[in-house]
């Protein structure tokens, strides 16, 4: 468990000293983290929830690290996407990458600069994510959030253009103020309960104005960081202007971190405060995100902005978990459904951004209007984009379908038909914006096709692999659901909360 944090942190520090070896260090990390996650999976399967008391003190004085099914799922997703993006980035940031025809070759030291700084910051990002998913302490979560935020912002700024830099600056200010809201909330919780340990908070089952306000502050901060509608405004410019591997990381993983904390807070620490008004409120915001994000995606002129708005929309689905999970009946389905969607979205969106990166690389722009016939010059990227689209739309057997199916069933079982409508409409809108891009892929060009550019193979294969994973993830949904039951903090708590009206 500790390896998941120590390994990327060490390699990040080493990569600062020897930037030339950043790539190699990332691979070491990938191998170690991959092995550690596998090991944890075994432990969890055999022994249930694992807790590690840092420093041997134990909560509430010390900090506990904890792995349950939910945390492990997030760690797996992080490891998977992390490894894939690292593979892609080895060539993306390589200075000798041939960018194709009308691209001015950038100065070599500029590329080297980016290569040198990407790896340590990427490893910090990985550290932050692993630490975040492992932590059971709300103050420690604040530290991980900051680590995550700094890494994300810096990676966006690595793109270097004015748009990226402005986006990064706004991202930073928004992220910092959100963190302060969260921290103030943590302070209030500490004032009321005298502890910042999640299980201890859960055990106290306190309530009162201070906790309400604290939760409000923390939630406000977290939904801003998670870019839930209407606090999503910072996301599209930041995600669209970052370098492709960074966009993939941000959309696939970074916004999921705050969401994860939100789940821990509401379901685990303060389940009694999770009233129907609150959950329906989250649902309304989620629905707003789905509709608004999809409509905006339909209106974008740039491919990466379209994909970024699609992230806004897809994040909305995750928040439908709250209204669907806290009612009686079908709660478990909604729980695994939303998390299935999370995993599927991570794979699909990473694939999409990486594919979009390839398109940008080869064509030199990403205006949707100007993409006619790109299936010919970049067949594999087009294919990856399409497959990832299947999962976003929610067509079977993709992970996106499995997730939506479970959410749909939960909504139908509970008679909350309004979410059913949102789920179906969201799928159709997603189909519309995915098709909008793919139409250009199939457009016939007169004359001979543009020359097929020799992109490095790994840059073609990685998005395709991720997209395939997203499509086949549906078959893993049963296993994932069983994994989520390990510890199932939220459900156990929510169930208890229901029993004591």
């Amino acid at each position: 468990m500790a390896l998941l944090i120590l390994a990327p942190l060490t390699t990040a520090a080493l990569a600062v000293v020897i930037p030339r070896r950043g790539r190699g260090l990332a691979f070491v990390t990938a191998v170690v983290v991959g092995a550690a996650v596998t090991g944890l999976f075994r432990e969890l399967r055999d022994h249930g929830v694992r807790i590690h008391q840092v420093g041997g003190w134990g909560a509430p004085l010390g900090i506990d690290l904890r792995v349950d099914g939910l945390a492990l799922l997030m760690l797996c997703v992080t490891a998977g996407i992390g490894i894939a993006v690292a593979l892609y980035a080895t060539r993306y940031f390589a200075s000798n990458l041939n960018l194709g025809q009308n691209r001015p070759q950038e100065p070599k030291d500029e590329a080297t600069h980016r290569d040198y700084y990407f790896w340590p910051i990427f490893l910090f990002l990985w550290t932050a994510l692993n630490a975040l998913f492992l932590s059971a302490d709300i103050f420690n979560l604040y530290v991980t959030l900051e680590l995550l935020g700094f890494a994300a912002v810096t990676l966006v700024a690595l793109a270097g253009g004015p748009a990226a830099l402005s986006a990064a600056l706004r991202y930073l200010t928004v992220s910092l103020s959100a963190s302060l809201f969260y921290l103030l909330g943590v302070g209030l919780v500490f004032g009321q309960c005298g502890t910042v340990d999640l299980p201890s908070l859960a055990a106290q089952r306190e309530s009162g104005p201070a906790l309400w306000v604290a939760l409000g502050l923390m939630t406000g901060g977290l939904i801003t960081k998670a870019a839930l509608f209407p606090m999503h405004f910072w996301l599209p410019p930041a995600h669209a202007n970052a370098p492709a591997p960074v966009s993939a990381l941000l959309s696939a993983l970074v916004v999921k971190g705050p969401f994860y904390i939100l789940l821990r807070l509401w379901f685990e620490a303060f389940p009694t405060l999770l009233t129907p008004a609150v959950t329906q409120g989250f649902g309304v915001l989620g629905a707003g995100a789905i509709l608004w994000g999809s409509i905006q995606a339909l209106r974008q002129q740039r491919l990466k902005l379209l994909v970024a708005y699609s992230t806004v929309a897809q994040l909305g689905y995750l928040f439908l978990l709250l209204p669907l999970c806290s009612n009686s009946g079908g709660g478990g389905m909604a729980w695994s459904g939303a998390l299935m969607l999370l995993g599927a979205h991570a794979c699909a969106k990473a694939a999409m951004f990486l594919a979009a990166g390839n398109i940008l690389h080869v064509t030199g722009h990403d205006r949707i209007q100007g993409l006619d016939g790109f299936a010919r010059s970049l067949p594999m990227s087009a294919f990856a984009f399409g497959l990832a689209g299947l999962s976003l739309v929610g067509l079977p057997p993709s992970g996106g379908f499995a997730g939506k199916w479970l959410l749909l069933n939960a909504a139908l079982t509970q008679g909350q038909w309004w979410w059913v409508a949102i789920l179906l409409i969201g799928g159709l809108l997603a189909a519309a914006y995915v098709a909008r891009v793919l139409t250009h892929a199939f457009t016939h060009l007169d004359g001979e096709a543009t020359v097929r550019h020799a992109l490095p193979r790994i840059m073609e294969w990685t998005p395709l692999g991720l997209a395939l994973l997203a499509v086949l993830l549906g078959f893993a949904s049963d296993g994932a659901a069983r994994l989520l039951e390990v510890g199932a903090p939220a459900l156990a708590q929510a169930a208890k909360g229901r029993m004591e009206p």
Partner: protein, 498 residues
């Protein structure tokens, strides 16, 4: 996993693997691609033959994989499946051959044949699905894999048609998903079973089940092109001829019709469905579609459009047969699933040949083609005559049973509809045949090459001739074992328990 399960998997993979492999072939590898295509099609044919033989001898085939929590990904082969899978596999073989010839010189062939194979994988998957969720999976896969075929030419028209196609089918898919999920929340996992699985719910959830049925019909009706959901079909005519053949005869509309058969027979059960009063409206919708399609067909000058509206009309024969509460009518409907496929594919092959060899796209340009392309035109004529219900051809058999069934159940209005439709069919087909055989060729034809006989290459001629012969076979030897009719009688026996 038993050997028998592997047969099912083999049937799916024979085309799936071929498709994937073809994607990675270079455009120039013409020979390899052709061989791969024929190999896949041939292998599938053999496996399906084995399946047919095995099922006939009472062997059961099934295969399950872990899928959603509580729901398996399940394949199976009941008599219904076998009927449809045989049809699609046989026709696919000939369509492949035809497509290889047809697209000889067009660009993006690897992409085309890749999706072509995926499309047929989806169709056979639909046939072999043993529960609703698996069915839904392949149903959507079919949508997705046909879209690239519809837009294959990449022209403005093609992209527009593709957009409409995708809009209709995905919206239909969403309704179907809703229906499946809703039914699941009431009844749990729904595996197909003869005579339905929801009898016990019918009393307590009457209204819900009625609404779900409507949702099912809307979702499936889009693909089956039932009025007023047929709008995409004529628009999708921009696709290359083999694709049209596939859409109309083998895959898409058939998948819709087959889905309706499944839902009525194996999910609701005919008795339960009729208790819920949902069959009568379906029958009326089908009747309306039959007449509407025929009338619209009358006024189309573009050959493929006329055929398209004819499809709209003919597919609803199947639905009508299913919706009329009578075993005899369902025999008629189910056998039409096969017969319509045989006839319509012949007609589309013919239309494709006219376009390919002479550049003829319109009925008004067809004067005298019979003399220039005798083989193609003969095949076309057999298909058209079959459609009109000429005795000893396939169409007559289905119509006979449909009419008998309608009389048996007292739906005399349906008999009238069938009669009127028969007349309309004649009205829009006879002028074509008249022009083709009896009018002098109006030179010059739109396309160059005015040699006396201009039959296209053999790869384009053999498929229509073969399917035309099958139309004759299905009509003449309808009572022989292994004819479509004989098999359908088996199915009906199972569904009605007679």
């Amino acid at each position: 996993m038993s050997v028998h399960g592997l047969v099912l998997l083999g049937i799916l993979f024979s085309s799936f693997v071929t498709g994937v492999a073809i994607f990675f072939l270079k455009e120039e590898n013409h020979r390899t691609r052709t061989w791969l295509n024929l190999l896949g099609a041939g292998l599938k044919l053999i496996l399906v033959a084995a399946l047919l033989w095995g099922t006939y001898r009472g062997q059961t085939y099934s295969l399950t994989l872990e899928f959603l929590p509580g729901i398996d990904f399940a394949l199976g082969a009941d008599s219904n499946s076998v009927l449809f899978v045989t049809l699609s596999t046989v026709l696919w073989f000939w369509t492949t051959l035809y497509a290889v010839g047809y697209l000889e010189h067009s660009p993006n062939r690897s992409r085309f044949f890749g999706f072509f194979s995926l499309c047929v994988t989806a169709t056979t998957g639909i046939a072999l699905s043993a529960n609703l969720v698996t069915f839904l999976t392949f149903f959507e896969l079919l949508t997705v894999s046909t879209y690239p075929l519809v837009v294959h030419r990449g022209t403005k028209d093609a992209l527009g048609g593709g957009r409409i196609y995708l809009g209709y089918t995905l919206a239909g898919g969403a309704l179907l998903l809703l229906a499946v999920a809703w039914l699941h929340s009431l009844a749990g996992p729904v595996a197909f079973k003869a005579r339905g699985v929801i009898q016990s719910l019918a009393a307590g959830h009457r209204v819900e089940l009625q609404v779900i049925f409507v949702l099912f019909m809307l979702g499936l009706g889009v693909k089956a092109a039932i009025l007023p959901l047929h709008g995409w079909l004529p628009k999708a005519m921009v696709a290359p001829a083999p694709v049209s053949a596939l859409l109309h005869a083998v895959a898409v509309v058939k998948a819709g019709a087959f889905g309706i058969v499944r839902v009525v027979y194996d999910v609701y059960g005919v008795e339960t469905a009729s208790e819920l009063n949902v069959l009568q409206p379906l029958a009326l919708a089908a009747g309306a579609t039959i007449v509407y399609g025929s009338i619209r067909a009358l006024f189309q000058d573009e050959l493929k459009k006329r055929l398209a509206y004819s499809t709209v009309s003919q597919v609803s024969y199947i639905v009508l047969g299913v919706a009329i509460l009578s075993p005899v009518a369902s025999i008629g409907g189910l056998v039409h699933l096969v017969h319509q496929g045989l006839m319509k594919i012949t007609l589309f092959f013919g239309a494709g040949n006219y376009a390919e060899a002479l550049g003829i796209h319109k009925v008004s340009e067809m004067n005298g083609v019979g003399r220039r392309m005798p083989l193609t035109t003969s095949a076309f004529t057999i298909g058209a005559l079959g459609m009109m219900g000429t005795p000893f051809l396939a169409g007559a058999v289905s119509k006979h049973y449909l009419k008998l069934g309608a009389e048996e159940s007292g739906d005399t209005w349906a008999v009238w509809i069938l009669t009127v439709s028969g007349l309309l069919n004649a009205a829009y087909f006879i002028p074509i045949l008249w022009r083709a055989w009896f009018k002098p060729p109006s030179d010059p034809h739109p396309a160059p090459g005015s040699a006396k006989r201009t039959e296209p290459p053999w790869a384009l001629v053999v498929p229509p001739v073969v399917t035309a012969l099958m139309v004759i076979w299905a009509g003449l030897f309808a009572e022989q074992p292994f004819s479509p009719l004989a098999w359908v009688k088996l199915v009906a026996q199972r569904e009605f328990g007679h």
